[in-house]
């Protein structure tokens, strides 16, 4: 057996501040290289979904060891484990939403009639400040260009449904909402479409 080991202490991800839940040990020509990654970054690098099975690659042996999913997945900021969240139903901090995002999504979807993405108010001062700033500032408040486009597409869909069901007042509300989203997009000086 390769020395796959489970680490449960709080170790930070090599790429961000979240807790590392995936520990990858690579043995290349007898040299041991260890990478510690959070769930998100491990997924981004295509390392998860492999379990803790050793994977053989050409010229190298990769050993992945993961904290047991669902039991020791932990928020790096507040230390809350996913298991503890499932027990009392409360998250510990804002960062929990990022760390547990994939697991929370289906729960949120079930609890909110399929809703998974926020539509509606944005903190007023936060938005005003972002619109005066750079692209990153805007993205922190309104999301990436793709997310923004998705939100507008979702609103258009809701509007079409309302019109199809002859819910005209609801449609009017959605049309206002759509205009507001498009105006946010354009910034305070921008003209709504």
């Amino acid at each position: 057996m390769p020395n796959a080991r489970y680490e449960v202490s709080l170790v930070k991800c090599d790429l961000c501040d979240a807790e590392a839940t995936v520990h990858e040990t690579q043995i290349v020509n007898g040299q041991v290289r260890v990478r510690r990654l959070c769930e998100r970054h491990a997924a981004e690098l295509g390392l998860t979904g492999v379990g803790s099975e050793p994977v053989s690659g050409a010229g190298s042996t990769v050993v992945l060891s993961m904290n047991k999913p669902g039991t020791t997945l932990r928020c790096g900021s507040c230390g809350l484990s996913y298991a503890a969240f499932r027990q009392n139903g409360l998250l510990g901090c804002s960062n929990c939403y990022e760390v547990f995002e994939d697991k929370l999504t289906p729960l949120i979807e079930r609890a909110h009639q399929g809703g998974t993405h926020h539509i509606g108010k944005t903190p007023v001062r936060m938005l005003a400040a972002a619109q005066g700033g750079d692209v990153q500032a805007v993205e922190r408040v309104l999301g990436s260009a793709r997310e923004r486009a998705e939100r507008i597409a979702l609103l258009r869909k809701q509007l079409e449904d309302a019109l199809a069901n002859e819910q005209y007042e609801r449609a009017a509300t959605l049309r206002d909402e759509l205009r507001r989203s498009e105006a946010e997009e354009a910034g305070p000086e921008g003209e709504p479409a």
Partner: protein, 415 residues
Amino acid sequence: MNTGGLGPSGGGNAPGDVRNGGVDPDSGRASDVVVSSRVRLARNLAGFRFPNRAPASERTAVVVKLKPIVLGARLSAQTEWVDLTSTTPMHRMSLVEERLISRHHAMGKAGEPMHGRAVAIGLPDRRLSIMINEEDHLRLQAIRPGFDLSGVVEEIEHADDAIEQKADYAFSPRFGYLSACPTNVGTGVRLSVMLHLPALKITRELEKVKRAADDLGLTVRGSYGEGTEATGDFYQISNQTTIGKSEAVLLREMESEIIPSVIAYERTARERLIKGGRRGMEDQAWRAVGLLLHARLLSTEEATKMLSRIRLGIALGLIPGLRLPLIQQLLIASQPAHIQMAIGQELTQEQRREARAALLRSKLGEAFATKRPPSRLIRPGSAEAKPEPPVGPSNRPVKRPPEPGQPGPGNGDNR
């Protein structure tokens, strides 16, 4: 002559008409069915752990940060700040009974510290309240009598924006306003309407309303009483969905689509009941008046049930001389902590029942004594057209033989 009509003479409520003033101008719109409208926003500060995960020092830091912001926002003519850690359980429970704070905020769940819990209350009307360190750092709430969701939403939006001018909220583009419980994430908005639905209960149509509400992502819960038991047929309908629909859409669904149809449904059921037996309805309402005017011991449950019957009687125009705001006031005043606060000390359950009966006798008696023109006070022959209450409460009791098993005079009185 107002016979069989709904609402006050000359101004009956069409089943679906919510613009109608209801039966009492001081009780808000559609007050024959709607008791009150409420909105609550869940908000958290960026950079602090949620209250359930924060140690005492961090909870305190949140209070220290928020207190000047909330008080400085000048959201009401005056704001009362209550540090819940230094109040008595009785005081906290009285705030729960006023619906200014949650039971959870007053008592905490088992083993949870009270540390850093506070509430800001808007004065003089006590319609705006801001809980600090409840399940979330901030729970903003506005409540008004009658059907006025737009009004409370406007008020709470203003409060939210004022606080956000000085505080960084925990917000993500994807999940919106981040809350400790994912059931509140997104807009963080919970709209609730308290409805009085005695007719739908009697006609056994309430189950249909519950099922319809369920399909629309709403919950229906009893407002008084424990668990599923809705003492006095007061129900709270609230949205469950908070993410994926904007505040405006959530408001529209409740205000223009769902609640008006429940109001219309209840009014239609009342109309049917009245047509099926006006005398019986009248009898029920006046018996409740009689009971409260003479009882010497009353549990909260019985008081709530009787006040509910009287409320229905007033809404149907069967009890001239009493007004809805008084009934709302008495529903709160007869709750356990309010009874004790009024007396100024802790009471045993038995003492509370006695004090409650005395309170209701005197308040209802006063209302009849002051609201009725003297010439109409006693007209024994006119019961057919206008049933009259007996004179006054217990202080000047109507002559009647002492009833066996009842406490003697003076025993139950709290003069």
